[in-house]
């Protein structure tokens, strides 16, 4: 659903296309044998090829090609049997070659699709235009030395997959959902780690506004947005800016803008620079990249189950709601954790524990599921103790807290703290008798028709048994005795 923007002069439609730069997971760089790893000391992951020393020749990394093809297959895209590397020419200190090796007219991956799950169970297909392989540039450091810029070439030549969407997105929320879904798919595929803070996934947004049904308006490109939240904010701000500009009789100028997260605004980035003229031409150092049918099918055969398929299976196999299935399938690690808990158990209970107690605990601690203090096996064992009547749900939550604190398993905590649920009829009857004996007034109220007062008796019994009495048995015995 297109969310229209209400301007002073009527409604406006927002049109967004995203370009995502995803670093392909590899050991080495796209065209050299230097490490593609993050966080090393400056200029230690640089070969003579990355530094563009004269006479050095690029040789393509097979794994980078495989990752691009795998990503294309995961996005149900056409894989081009022949693609070509071009030189994109521009001068910048962090680009020693004076050109970036990229793919222009013949990218390795063509048209594909991503399906977004929007709120309210609605789904939206968003077109992928293309994916091409290209080199990353180095890093310019501006804040170390007031008079100079320092350049670190560790990132220069790291393999990037540029994933370009069609201008199919119509709201900041859709753009955010697209980026989140793309990230999820890349992580499932194992082709990009999706780490936006470290810059292994970066996003540029092309934003324009128009009257509904009219041709596209002039667009601005917002560069290097480094979180999903900032993407949403940057697009919302930029759309509003363009609407106000047009409504006050001015024109939107096509330009590159930068999102300033601190002030929540976008600002013009290189208005003084001359219009770019990249003068692309085929890189004479590289022959066309040709892929055989066998090669492509070989990669297809190793694709994992992806989030959409997994979600559908969770609904069909475990009887989960679409919403719960979507939450559990969004991240591969979460899905695997859930399935390990659910296997051979009540899947609904497993889903509730994972999305409720576990997610709550992980959020409070700010840790990822991979670092969960409670393993899938231990959470499963805890659920078993509820299923066999050893623990009530309420006590199980206390046990879970103790598991989080100590990292120990449920059974030993129950044993040590004596938390085992009391299901012994004699013991419960004694506690019920005591409660009835101590509550003559409440007994009269109950027998006078006030059934809500039953809760008072339950409370007394629970207090007497430190919460360990089997609640179902307490209810039954109370009703029997009070009714008699």
């Amino acid at each position: 659903m297109a969310a229209l923007i209400e301007g002073r002069t009527g409604e406006w439609e927002l049109v967004i296309g995203l370009e995502v730069h995803a670093q392909a997971i590899t050991e080495a760089k796209l065209f050299s044998g230097a490490s593609a790893g993050f966080g090393a000391e400056a200029n230690t992951h640089v070969s003579l090829i990355d530094a563009a020393m004269p006479g050095m020749l690029p040789v393509i990394n097979e794994r980078a090609v495989e990752q691009a093809v795998r990503t294309g297959l995961g996005l149900k895209a056409e894989i081009n049997r022949v693609s070509v590397f071009d030189r994109k020419n521009y001068f910048y200190p962090d680009l020693p070659q004076g050109y970036q090796i990229s793919q222009f007219s013949q990218p390795v991956v063509g048209k594909g699709e991503i399906v977004l799950d929007m709120e309210g169970g609605e789904s939206r297909a968003v077109g992928i235009t293309r994916i091409h392989l290209e080199q990353d540039a180095g890093k310019s450091v501006h804040d170390r030395d007031p008079g100079h810029t320092l350049v670190d070439l560790n990132r220069a030549g790291v393999p990037l997959m540029e994933i370009v969407s069609e201008p199919d997105l119509r709201s900041p929320e859709e753009a955010a959902a697209y980026l989140a879904k793309l990230r999820s798919i890349l992580r499932y595929l194992g082709t990009c780690d999706g780490n936006m803070e470290q810059g292994s996934m970066r996003c540029d947004a092309n934003v324009s506004v128009r009257r509904p049904g009219e041709p596209l308006g002039t667009r601005c490109e917002i560069k290097n947005v480094n979180s999903i939240r900032f993407l949403r904010q940057a697009i919302a701000y930029e759309a509003q800016r363009q609407v106000e500009l047009i409504e006050s009789g001015e024109r939107v100028v096509q330009e590159t803008r930068l999102y300033d997260a601190e002030r929540g605004v976008t600002r013009s980035m290189r208005s003084k620079e001359e219009a770019h003229d990249y003068r692309y031409f085929p890189d004479p150092d590289l022959l066309p990249l040709t892929l055989t049918e066998d090669y492509i099918e070989g990669i297809r055969a190793t694709l994992p189950e992806l989030p959409d398929e997994k979600k559908a299976r969770f609904v069909a196999e475990y009887g989960l709601t679409e919403y719960d299935a979507g939450v559990l399938a969004a991240e591969r690690e979460i899905a695997e954790f859930f399935e390990a808990v659910a296997r051979g158990r009540d899947a609904k209970a497993a889903s509730n524990w994972v999305t409720g107690e576990l997610f709550g605990a992980l959020n409070r601690r700010g840790v990822e599921i991979a670092d969960s203090p409670v393993s899938a096996a231990s959470l499963g064992a805890l659920i078993d103790l509820i299923a066999d009547g050893t623990l009530s749900n309420r006590i199980a939550k206390d046990v879970f807290e103790a598991m989080l604190e100590t990292g120990r398993d449920a059974a030993s905590i129950v044993e040590e703290k004596g938390l085992k649920q009391v299901s012994d009829t004699g013991a419960i009857e004694a506690a019920v008798d005591a409660a009835i004996a101590g509550g003559a007034k409440q007994v009269a109220q109950y027998r006078g028709g006030n059934e809500k007062i039953l809760g008072w008796f339950v409370g007394q019994v629970m207090k007497a048994t430190q919460g360990k009495a089997n609640p179902q048995m307490v209810n039954e015995i109370l009703k029997k005795k009070l009714g008699g």
Binding site: T26, E27, A28, S32, G33, A34, S35, E41, A42, N43, T44, H45, V46, S47, L48, I49, A51, V59, I60, N61, E62, R63, A64, V65, V84, N89, F91, Y92, P93, Q106, S140, V141, H142, R144, D145, P146, G147, H148, T149, L150, V151, D152, L153, L258, M269, R270, E274, D277, R279, P282, P284, L286, L287, P288, L289, T290
Partner: protein, 96 residues
């Protein structure tokens, strides 16, 4: 096609080559002749022929295994840098 002075100035700017004003006219004439010579290729009928992106007939792109075999040679990398600091190249300040 004819190359004028302003086109030469623009090409020089894109290539970051400083060309004195008085040389622009001469270069425009030379470039014009070169382009005219190359334009003879337009006489060849290329309908239905795919654009050629490489002249290495019969050869295929070589692929490399994904292994770290290079790097850790910062002194070599920085050896020709006019100025270096903390392992970085130092360049005039580039402000966006």
């Amino acid at each position: 096609m004819s190359v004028d002075k302003s086109t030469v100035a623009r090409i020089a700017q894109l290539a970051r080559i400083r060309v004195p004003e008085e040389e622009l006219d001469g270069l425009a004439g030379e470039l014009d002749k070169i382009l005219g010579w190359i334009e003879q290729l337009d006489e060849v009928d290329t309908d239905g022929v795919a654009p050629m992106t490489s002249n290495a007939e019969g050869m295929t792109l070589r692929w490399r295994r994904d292994e770290v075999t290079d790097g850790d040679r910062r002194d070599d990398i920085l050896a020709n840098a006019p100025e270096a600091q903390d392992g970085h190249f130092v360049v005039p300040r580039v402000v966006e």
